[in-house]
Subunit: 236 residues, 2 copies
């Protein structure tokens, strides 16, 4: 299902200040930046991984073309917006991004698992000059403005969030969600919402620790497929 | 709560074809059109009525100014969009609306209750020339694009829908929701979603009859107020 936060995020952000490196620990540079059309192949693969994770590959019909033609038609934050999470073992070079200053953090991790898809997810945006940089796309979050009617103010709805398997349990899910919340506050928005599976108690606990409330009484109604298409006939 | 469909809508659309009028029945002209900034005072009052209906007036902080400054910044259907439902005992005069051809229906109702707020909700848009027209605002629906990630296509999220008390049980809720679904199909969108209270079995039955599925496993997480504002501090 697509309107979801998929992976149970890790329990805590490893560190946000300049850390003291202990024996066995590794320093990992992370960056959250706006997606560009050059990220579409990676976004497409990440969405497919989400469909696999949710056992819903039968619903996966997105193509690079459908993503490219729908995701970049409005200025960032006014419609569909994607943040990309990149990791690297080296400091990032600057990129030009006037609409959103990338968020860079250096985190200490006890263990850096080998990334079996490092080549597939090599960041095209960060490694443009192909000078041996190892910047890798580790995850993404897709969000869109919503509207808090009672406040008469916008908010954000987080449609999907994924951190790739080998980068989980390092606080990256929280970093991505926090980046959306921070952007919401900057813009004077009054709400950030997303969906969670009711049996995913670890995720719910994590979201509650982030300050979110789970609305137990509300259910999502969804009109799709043939049932929706029927409304295209004016005689419904 | 604001991200909701408020009133349990009526069971069926009274009639969509040219009707045969039976004794005791009344003909009511209805129109669904795009809201304009001139509708803001009515939208503001409708949202307040929704807060009253949901016992949440303590959350109602919207002002005409906050609505006016947030609702009309993008072309229709690209961001927050409002449809207004008007009723009249006379045929409607044409209005200029290139972005959305108003949907007009004549419905037969067994009983037209006196509208105690007819003067308050007299449509400023339809009655501009003040020539005695009785066009009245009877409800609204506010919706916003969402994104169906697995399809790589947009959808609509219906944030709020309200039909005023004296116009309920006439199929107007279904007309408003159907208008959103019809627009979604027109635009090639793949989903329409909204929320419902899990104990509102009448509403759920009605939505299912409209073809919607209730997602029983998913819960909405919401980050608002001080918990959200905390993310404005970069050191969260």
């Amino acid at each position: 299902m697509a309107s979801t936060i998929s992976p149970p995020p890790a329990a805590a952000l490893a560190s946000i200040a300049t850390p003291t490196i202990l024996v066995g620990q590794h320093q990992l540079y992370t960056r959250i930046r706006l997606a560009t059309p050059a990220d579409v192949p990676h976004i497409h693969k990440l969405i497919y991984q989400m469909a696999v994770f949710q056992n819903e590959t039968h619903l996966f019909t997105a193509t690079e073309s459908s993503l490219a033609s729908t995701l970049f038609n409005s200025p960032p934050f006014q419609s569909f917006t994607v943040f990309i999470l990149e990791v690297s073992s080296n400091p990032f070079k600057n990129i030009h991004s006037p609409a959103f200053l990338p968020i860079e953090r250096t985190v200490l991790v006890d263990h850096v698992a080998a990334d079996p898809e490092a080549e597939t997810f090599k960041s095209g945006v960060a490694n443009e000059d192909d000078d041996g940089d190892d910047v890798t796309v580790a995850g993404f979050v897709l969000f869109v403005p919503s509207y808090t009617t009672f406040a008469g103010k916008p908010g954000f709805h987080v449609e999907d969030l994924l951190v790739r398997e080998c980068y989980r349990r390092k606080g990256f899910g929280k970093m991505l969600l926090s980046a959306v919340a921070e952007q919401a506050v900057k813009m004077g928005f009054k709400r950030v919402e997303w969906s969670v599976l009711e049996w995913n108690v670890n995720a719910i606990k994590f979201y509650e620790e982030m300050g979110a409330k789970v609305l137990t009484e509300w259910r999502v109604c969804r009109l799709t497929g043939d049932a929706l298409e029927a409304y295209g006939d004016a005689n419904y």
